[in-house]
Symmetry: C2
Subunit: 170 residues, 2 copies
Amino acid sequence: MSPSDPPAPDPAACPPHKPDPRIQQPDAPDACTPEGTGHADRFTRAREAQAQALLEDYVEMIGDLIEQLGEARVADIAARMGVAQPTATKAIARLKREGLATARPYRGVFLTETGARMADRVRVRHRTVVEVLVAVGVPRDLAELDAEGIEHHVSSQTLAAFQSYLDQRG
Amino acid sequence: MSPSDPPAPDPAACPPHKPDPRIQQPDAPDACTPEGTGHADRFTRAREAQAQALLEDYVEMIGDLIEQLGEARVADIAARMGVAQPTATKAIARLKREGLATARPYRGVFLTETGARMADRVRVRHRTVVEVLVAVGVPRDLAELDAEGIEHHVSSQTLAAFQSYLDQRG
DNA sequence: TCGGCAATATAGCCGTTGCTAACTTGATGA
DNA sequence: TCATCAAGTTAGCAACGGCTATATTGCCGA
Ligand SMILES: [Mn+2]
Ligand SMILES: [Mn+2]
Ligand SMILES: [Mn+2]
Ligand SMILES: [Mn+2]
């Protein structure tokens, strides 16, 4: 596993990189070929989830701000996200592009119907993730921290399993 | 929550954006000011975890490939990550920059001591996350998928809690 | 009313992570 | 031996998400 320790491949097991045009039917998964393990989709999936994460957090937070303060200002959004104001403005531009928010320049930011629905969904999921973490023994403060990243990778089916788990253990 | 529904802020509760130079001591958390809630660190933390995610996945996978095939080739890395070869090459360049891997051009990729240690740590964490998900009722296939993203946001303390949970419930 | 200032927007930089197209290299087999 | 061609690299593009510096706007109080 170190550069000075060149690997000793077992030549009998998995001859690497000798394209063997013999009996291979092209769509049969080959145990000796990395593609055969089908791990790639996992990473693609995780990347897609991550691409949504920023939108989800902004939308949830804008919903919170409107609820708590009556409006969502760029300065407040930026402060809560821990970014500079132009960064928040740029993110809001993306929210608008994706139909999740609207904004009147130099005024507040508002959620569309779609955005508001996403905010609610994300808020529920966030709370459920925290509760599951607490239920398995994570201190609540820490659960709150870790959940902020974890939540975006919890699929709806996994979320359903979480809810069952919490219900059934009262 | 919609643009046509301008918020009705409770003016008595939290007068927004009137900088009130009165009795405020500057470092006292203000309940009416979003910064006072101290949520920003959470997101900063999640962003930092995410910045590590790519490195962690590559390092783990390179370790797997060396173990399984005796060597880690760019083509195999790219295939398993579900990206194009130049994307893998670029990621490997970052691994080298960060002291996690070395590579002989046109030959294989190798892990440094640091990289190998990270690979082991990440592999253990990945398995633990999957086992916790399974333990709370997530089907194993799905647990494997979701864990690929979740793992990177599980802090070492949360991981310790996960391990205790798994131990204590046999 | 209107000048000043705080909030917001814009411009432009950087690094990361994808991609495709084109070039280089080196291993293989005839 | 050496031509071929798969594997790898390089070049260059785009989108995203940070940032700072600067321009703009609109709100409030004098
Ligand atoms: Mn989050
Ligand atoms: Mn959240
Ligand atoms: Mn992962
Ligand atoms: Mn993993």
